[in-house]
Symmetry: C2
Subunit: 157 residues, 2 copies
DNA sequence: ATCTGATTGCAAGTTTGTTTCGTCTGGATG
DNA sequence: CATCCAGACGAAACAAACTTGCAATCAGAT
């Protein structure tokens, strides 16, 4: 009973479908998981309310809208004082070209995924984000030659 | 005319909305961009056919479905012979826990984004993917402490 | 000036999503 | 052991959204 529990096997089956294609009609989902359309609809609504489903979005091919370059950047900071880390987070989040930003353990402090139109744009971005930030000690860039697999799908097993 | 060109400013405005919420009714989109609902619908359809829109999906909160750990892995291979690289790509793509996989230039050859339930699961994964693959020379793991910004949104400006 | 091809808005038709309502199940309580 | 209650279900009615056909419009080329 998915009332108190957050996920049962119906929910997982529904999520698996929606992670592939959220335009799938509820009736079709219902047939796939052996539930009526209203039941499917109620479960989706609850998962949205509880934050299991964070968003409904389209995935855009970056190359086809003028952003053919994807980059990874490892950023190392000078000081890990909380307020400086927070400031760094805010500055990264604010930049649309930064698709993803993670605060990590290891040899680096941040890992960024960046999408740009040209390397000149990236050069300008590094100036703004890294060279003008005194707390950035070092950064290392990887250029993606092949986006072998790109998605945010979470396995549900 | 968006016939031969792939993107005009209407398309970009529509995409910007859909990248945030693809459940937005076409009528509402139409009001926002000053177009009728059918016009919006035809443009969306064309962008889907031409591959500008790659997919319609829900984004799931990994922590809430039992995958609280996100990892980055830099993988360096022994040989960059094409067939070995392709084999590596296939092996990474086949694993559901590998959300993203990029073939990159720089000190590493691949960068993976991995989502798992426990570190034990990750340990098992490294065994399968890296230790049992003779072509993997070295790999380096970063553990995400904070998913500061996660998305696949492409800036449209 | 005219023609062509593409795009638009409107309106009708169709599909999909949503709400309502009565029923059923499982678990806790007396 | 019977009763009660909360939560979830399906069927049907309802509302909203999507889709299509058609005539009108606009831009560029002849």
């Amino acid at each position: 009973m998915p009332a108190s529990q957050s996920l049962d096997s119906f929910d997982r089956a529904i999520l698996a479908i929606l992670q592939k294609d959220n335009t799938t009609p509820q009736r079709v989902i219902g047939e796939a998981v052996n539930l009526s359309a209203p039941a499917v609809q109620r479960r989706i609504k609850r998962m949205e309310e509880t934050g299991i489903i964070r968003a409904n979005v389209v995935l855009v091919d970056p190359a086809k809208v003028g952003h053919p370059i994807t980059l990874f950047v490892e950023v190392e900071v000078e000081s890990e004082r909380a307020e400086l880390i927070d400031a760094a987070k805010r500055s990264f989040v604010a930049v649309p070209e930064v698709q993803q930003c993670y605060y990590v353990t290891g040899d680096a402090d941040f890992i960024l995924v960046v999408t740009v139109a040209t390397m000149a744009d990236y050069e300008a971005l590094t100036r703004r984000l890294f060279f003008e930030n005194n707390n950035v000690k070092r950064f290392r860039t990887f250029v993606a030659m092949d986006r072998v697999k790109v998605g945010l799908e979470v396995p549900l097993g």
